[in-house]
Point group: C2
Chain length 104, copies 2
């Protein structure tokens, strides 16, 4: 009798939920998400708004982009980032659903 069969939720699922939460639990990434809630922004403008190194912002944007929380398009020399709203919500709702399912 191992835990993988008896536990209500398996390790892979826990890992994936964990990963999704981690993406949205870093202060820098959260700040970016909240900034983009208002309007789309170039990397340079995000750097200005958060007063951080361009490299740090780019690294975090990559993580957000990889998890499809934001999307990017080129505009001349700049890259303009915007929210991929649907996915932000789906992550949260997915977790709420999980919890609610376990309830009864």
């Amino acid at each position: 009798m191992d835990t993988s069969t008896t536990s209500p939720i398996n390790k892979e699922k826990i890992q994936s939920i964990s990963k999704e939460f981690k993406v949205i639990s870093d202060p820098t990434r959260l700040s970016i998400l909240f900034l983009l809630q208002k309007e789309e922004l170039s990397v340079g403008n995000i750097v200005l708004a958060l007063d951080m190194e361009q490299s740090a912002i780019s690294h975090q944007l990559k993580i957000l982009n990889d998890s499809r929380l934001v999307k990017a398009r080129r505009e001349g020399k700049s890259m303009v980032y915007s929210l991929d709203d649907l996915h932000v919500f789906s992550i949260l709702e997915q977790v709420l659903t999980h919890i609610k399912e376990q309830e009864q």
Copy 2:
């Protein structure tokens, strides 16, 4: 013109949301929460279910307890932990609310 006045959400708020998310984004803590969704459990039983060191579990339970996601009561030699459901939900709903507020 500083970001604290112009940004839609201030640094302290970001920090507190970040902290709350971090608590529920660790795989071990998530596993404990999902286990307790089903039934209340002693530390020993959580240790068995997750097949981890007792000390590691206790440390994580402390973090969950400090953020009031779980509560504990003594039962003989054991400590029995259970979910503090309301607070789990309030954290998630708080964030959803934040995001929705920013939307329009």
